[in-house]
């Protein structure tokens, strides 16, 4: 079963656009100071 899953898993990849969207949203959160690691307060 593991071999079948491995073959299928290789197709379960998100679009690059999705990664770009997450990074853009993270940048927005950072700019707004809503991240724990930036020294800013969590809102």
């Amino acid at each position: 079963m593991s071999e079948i899953f491995a073959r299928i898993e290789s197709q379960l990849e998100p679009d690059d656009e999705l990664t770009a969207r997450v990074l853009a949203e993270a940048q927005k959160l950072s700019d707004e100071g809503r991240c724990a690691g930036t020294g800013a307060k969590l809102s």
Binding site: I4, Q11, L12, P14, S30
Partner: protein, 160 residues
């Protein structure tokens, strides 16, 4: 894309390393690319906002998997039916495979969510029983029982 900010750059590296793992969990648990996209974003933005610290890389992987599983549970909890929407075909999930693989994967998709979680973590991601139990928040014996039950159901479906 190469970002100048260290935190964003670290996030990008984390996404590139674990995107297939997180996305695979979401697609398998939710049977929907659009919901998997939402879970994917939620997991990595939570990671970015919380900035959890880990001693070893394996802990980060476990955190991301546990978070993805928990978010998928929330999505499934809100659904009318707890079971797979069998009308969602593999083509819709953009998965192309030979008939034998298709039969097994389709049978996995029809397992109840609790069994599917255990099967995915153990057989897909190669986690041992202890790791699988920790992620699911249950005992090792419960994982063994779920896997055994899942194997029985899969055998019935693929042989019948």
């Amino acid at each position: 894309m190469q970002n100048e900010e260290p935190d964003i750059r670290e996030l990008e590296e984390t996404i590139n390393r674990y995107k297939r793992t997180v996305y695979g969990i979401a697609v398998t648990q939710l049977n929907s690319r659009s919901e998997a996209d939402d879970v994917f974003q939620e997991v990595f933005l939570l990671y970015y906002q919380k900035k959890p610290e880990f001693d070893i890389e394996e802990q980060k992987r476990a955190w991301l998997i546990r978070t993805a599983v928990n978010i998928c549970r929330r999505y499934n909890f809100g659904k009318w039916s707890r079971y797979v929407d069998k009308t969602t075909e593999l083509e819709e999930l953009q998965i192309v495979c030979d008939p034998g693989d298709r039969e097994v994967y389709a049978a996995v998709r029809e397992l109840p969510p609790k069994l599917r979680e255990a099967v995915y973590l153990h057989h897909f991601l190669g986690m041992d029983l202890r790791e699988t139990a920790d992620i699911l928040g249950i005992g090792v014996s419960a994982v063994s029982m779920r896997l055994s039950k899942a194997r029985g159901l899969l055998q019935n479906k693929t042989e019948g």
